[in-house]
């Protein structure tokens, strides 16, 4: 049961969630009503509503960034080097322990 953690910046609320059965971290967040992650486009990289900061990357977890993702991250609210689109972070066997911070939309 891989556990992932979302910390919502606005409120400080922490969501520790089981990622099993979801395709991406965006889906985990949306299914569990994590605030400020809407996932409006369902992961097509057209909406920009799933911006997160990666706080802890588990060893062996690979989630390569496409040029489309880099493009979209140019317009999100306060991007940093830790910025990712949660819809581009797959759920796989190494995802357990991933920690994400969720900025304001």
């Amino acid at each position: 049961m891989p556990e992932v953690t979302f910390t919502v910046e606005e409120t400080g609320t922490e969501f520790v969630l089981d990622a099993t059965g979801h395709a991406t971290l965006m889906h985990v967040a949306v299914e569990n009503d994590v605030p400020n992650i809407e996932g409006e486009c369902g992961g097509d990289m057209s909406c920009g509503t799933c911006h997160v900061y990666v706080e802890r990357m588990p060893v062996g977890y690979l989630a390569p960034q496409s040029s489309d993702e880099i493009d979209m991250l140019e317009v999100v609210n306060e991007p940093t080097d830790a910025s990712r689109l949660a819809c581009q972070l797959p759920v796989n066997e190494s995802v357990g322990g991933l920690r994400l911070r969720v900025p304001k939309l």
Binding site: E38, D44, M45, S46, G48, D71, E74, V75, L105
Partner: protein
């Protein structure tokens, strides 16, 4: 119960769709014949899909279900000649481009239309809404369509694109003539329905190509410049490609919003308790906008052409068949929506298909949503007693659901 001839006759008669009465037919089809082979009086035959799940199926697979014949049922259901295709932008306009070329055009645009790119425009949109409502208030007796609903996208979209104000009216007129060739009001003696839509599409394109040429020479802070400078990762888009991107911005931007706002305001006027609720609770604006979109479904149908034989709903379909997804029916599907014939601005979830789905999902949806979220509550905040001065007139179209005219009085006490 309608017989098949009546069904086919109705589905191929644009005037049948002026209003909301057409929904009864789709309720019948959803139950009795959800994948219906439709044979009109003239023109070609097509499959009519009325269920939500089937509409999703065709939009989810843009390779099997191509948009090459145009995005919605064309007038007279006739195919274009090669010369008409050239003017209409077939294979160039993003809506009429199939994968993989579609993705090449679409991907670089996404970030410019994404929610975080659009949200900062809220103060501008608020200012525009005030400007429109101030001008309307000064007259008190106004037309809800021309003076309010149509003004919103003209002022937002054409300003964002960077169109000079003196050209707004002309572009608005060309757009109406491109999209509403089925309505006598927007026809002229020189053109039949097809030559009208092709000719006016070409006029919009010629204007947009001029904008692109101009911004390539002298960049400005506007969307015409963004589109002029887009590249597909390596090469810049050709003038024709970038020009048709601007066409999509103009047509998509002006049309759907006007129709959704006009119908939405009318439905809210007819339900004063919901209008009051919205005026007093702006946090309901988001769900209200989604309900207005579901309820109106400004673009009723999506056209796709099969690129291979397939099977859908127990019917064998052949390569080359036209398949129409009636999303207006999908948005009233009893299997998906609770009380589908109840207009409820607090409805959630509301996974309507008014913006399409999949590869071609509306590029401008964040803009359209923001425009409407600001406009709808503001009308009832400023004019809580707004009332009819006459009956609404509907656009005659088997695709567009919207009003042409609706005389209203904003503030009855002012007289």
């Amino acid at each position: 119960m309608p017989d098949v001839l009546d069904i086919d006759q109705s589905l191929t008669t644009p005037s049948f769709f002026a209003g909301m009465g057409f929904h009864d037919l789709f309720t019948h089809l959803r139950t009795h014949d959800p994948v219906h082979w439709t044979k009109g009086a003239d023109g070609r035959k097509f499959w009519s899909l009325s269920k939500y799940a089937d509409c999703l199926t065709i939009m989810a697979d843009p390779v099997l279900f191509s948009t090459i014949a145009g995005p919605h049922l064309p007038p007279l259901a006739r195919s274009l000649t090669p010369e008409e295709d050239e003017k209409f932008g077939t294979n160039v306009h993003i809506l009429m481009t199939d994968p993989p070329d579609h993705g090449r055009k679409r991907r670089p645009m996404n970030k410019h239309f994404a929610v975080p790119a659009v949200t900062p425009m809220a103060p501008l949109f608020t200012e525009i809404v005030s400007e429109i409502l101030d001008a309307a208030a000064a007259r008190n007796d106004v037309d809800l369509v021309d003076d309010i609903a149509a003004q919103l996208p003209v002022k937002v979209i054409l300003r964002l694109l960077g169109v000079a104000e003196e050209d707004w009216a002309a572009l608005q007129d060309m757009t109406l003539r491109t999209l509403h060739a089925q309505d006598a009001e927007y026809q002229d003696a020189e053109h039949d329905e097809i030559s009208a839509k092709v000719t006016y599409m070409d006029k919009v394109y010629q204007y947009c190509a001029g904008l692109i040429r101009d911004r390539r020479a002298s960049p400005q802070a506007d969307y015409a410049t963004i589109l002029a400078q887009l590249t597909d990762g390596g090469e810049p888009f050709t003038e024709r490609e970038a020009g048709f991107m601007a066409v999509g911005f103009v047509l998509g931007g002006l049309e759907g919003t006007r129709n959704a706002v006009s119908v939405g305001l009318m439905e809210l006027m007819d339900r004063p308790e919901q209008a009051r609720l919205l005026a007093g609770a702006p946090e309901l604006a988001k769900s209200a906008v989604e309900e207005v979109l579901r309820w109106s479904t400004p673009s009723k149908n999506r056209l796709r052409v099969l690129t291979a034989d397939t099977e859908l709903g127990g019917h064998r379909m052949s390569k080359g068949d036209w398949v129409i997804g009636w999303v207006t029916s999908a948005n009233r599907d009893e299997d998906v929506f609770d009380r589908p014939f109840t207009f409820d601005i607090t409805r959630t979830p509301n996974k309507h298909l008014a913006f399409g789905q999949g590869a071609h999902v509306c590029l401008g949806r964040a803009m359209a949503r923001l425009e409407m979220e600001i406009m709808l509550p503001e009308v009832f905040r400023r004019f809580p007693r707004i009332e009819r001065r006459g009956e609404p007139e509907w656009i005659v179209s088997d695709n567009a659901t919207g009003l042409k005219r609706f005389p209203v009085r904003l503030n009855p006490e002012a007289r």
